[in-house]
Subunit: 368 residues, 2 copies
Amino acid sequence: MSRPFNFSAGPAAMPVDVLQEAAAEMLDWHGSGMSVMEMSHRGKEFGAILEAAERDLRELLAVPEHFRILFMQGGGLAENAIVPLNLSRGESVDFVISGSWSQKSFKEAGRYCSARVAASNEADGHTSLPDPASWQLDPGARYVHLCSNETINGVETHELPDLKALGSNAPLVIDFSSHVASRPVDWSRVGLAFGGAQKNLGPAGVTLVVVREDLLGHAMKSCPSAFDYKTVADNRSMYNTPPTFAIYMAGLTFQWLKRQAEGALTGVAAMEARNIAKAALLYGYIDQSAFYSNQVAAHCRSRMNVPFFLHDESRNEAFLAGAKAAGLLQLKGHKSVGGMRASIYNAMPIEGVQALVAYMRDFEKTQA
Amino acid sequence: MSRPFNFSAGPAAMPVDVLQEAAAEMLDWHGSGMSVMEMSHRGKEFGAILEAAERDLRELLAVPEHFRILFMQGGGLAENAIVPLNLSRGESVDFVISGSWSQKSFKEAGRYCSARVAASNEADGHTSLPDPASWQLDPGARYVHLCSNETINGVETHELPDLKALGSNAPLVIDFSSHVASRPVDWSRVGLAFGGAQKNLGPAGVTLVVVREDLLGHAMKSCPSAFDYKTVADNRSMYNTPPTFAIYMAGLTFQWLKRQAEGALTGVAAMEARNIAKAALLYGYIDQSAFYSNQVAAHCRSRMNVPFFLHDESRNEAFLAGAKAAGLLQLKGHKSVGGMRASIYNAMPIEGVQALVAYMRDFEKTQA
């Protein structure tokens, strides 16, 4: 079938197969006589959906047994408060500022604890990443926060820091909203990872939290019960009514991910190979062009979010209008950065990036 | 089409028309080339969906202009913390205890402010409602909390109290999760109303808050930004990424509600007429039977949730198995109450209640 290619930064394109499955069983899930939306979350049908989603995600991301998988609500912005409410104990925490999202997280955390900047790339306009060896870590910090992919700035951490090797015993908290499931995670370096689903996992409205068990049970008194990780974990993500349909859609996406193969690779490893190829194609074209540019340092360019600029910004509107006519949607850059942004998450096939590059080449020619 | 009748207390049955519409436009919303799940929440397409949903709901519930309509996340259980975080200022608040949900709300509020019980029906096992004239209201309370329909206990407030007439200037906060849109709301008596969508409005994962404007802007310091009503209102429910698909489904449900007519009545008034008829049929049958019983006082029986008991409880499993075979789903009572519960929300047609009564009659006969 011929659908446009959708480069939205999130909520973002989903696999067509997943949307078709959801449409087909909308009125009757597996002979139950109910839509997934109509099921009691306490019934055996939804119980099976939730259990499968958790199991598949654990397998896909190779989440060790001593981590709990939680499905929550509120997205990354709510987690900016929920993480310090659960982990900071009102004490000191360290932040690595690498772009817009980590700045927001830092600001919100400061309402609950003593949040410090351990490193920042603000001086270069969030286009680089400070070497972990240069981070000024507080030995007493309750955790170190890192946004491992900055959606707006297009800056990705390609190797998670080894805090122990840097002399810190603090757990690393990563906001992996916009690159979760696009590559493997080295859990030996992570204490907690959180992410809104709406980029790589499913629809907006469900938030994934993967947390090491020893970090549970230290919530501040002011933490709402529904957002206390221990309460959520003890109730298997059903303390409050979970966002059942969003979890179901994420579960279908996990099944889709498990079916993906690239040569001998499957699942997330297959996605990583594809994502490397997609990013190489797009950055490669931008870098050889005198018409477009990307300003992020090569070592930390995001495989997921590719901001780029036309050298002649007066052509922006024409570029976007032509793109839309060519079936290339939602390419406008974030208002804080300007220009364009192509988000090329798991659900974007290489054909979409090829079509984008072809359009960019054509547009460049017509402007010569 | 022949679907089973689904009596789930929530997530609950949805109108078949709404499910069919969602399935039909799952891959392409109105020629946009995108599923609603794939749209940027900042784009004009989703903007139109959100705006229509808000406008339709305002019309359906006749929400006055000086109230704001917010779409949030976390459900009623999260609101149990979010309401006191926004309204209590850490001071005194009054609670009317009428069943399981108000008890939970009371317990959670006590973590943020001085929560007092102004009235309670605990002594009669939550089967009655204390007359507002008997409530012991604190003149200094920041608000008075009332769960206007107790889903688990089947207790409904059929006339909202006039707090001013009772000598109180506190705003009334109602948890109307399980009867919103089943009847009109007298907004002159309400300061804030909240409800999870998963009973009468749409799928789980979106929470409706309707709040009088003068109550905004008093959040406690520890209130997460994503749950500060003023922040949410100022950002038109888009401070964090909203649960876009759940809002879209709620919007389709609002459109369905607007299309409903019963004689000269339309919308919520039409639903109320139907809900009165459905409840009368079911309670009428139960009351004339020596085999079944409902223990709630007549003046506060819920039109939405009808708990009932078989006098011989050893027949419960046989009753449920036979009901399922007859296409009558999810009738098991809440574990804290036992017995059966028929939730007959807006999406349940009178034919469903007729089928239930017919089955109950048949079951009674076979047991004679």
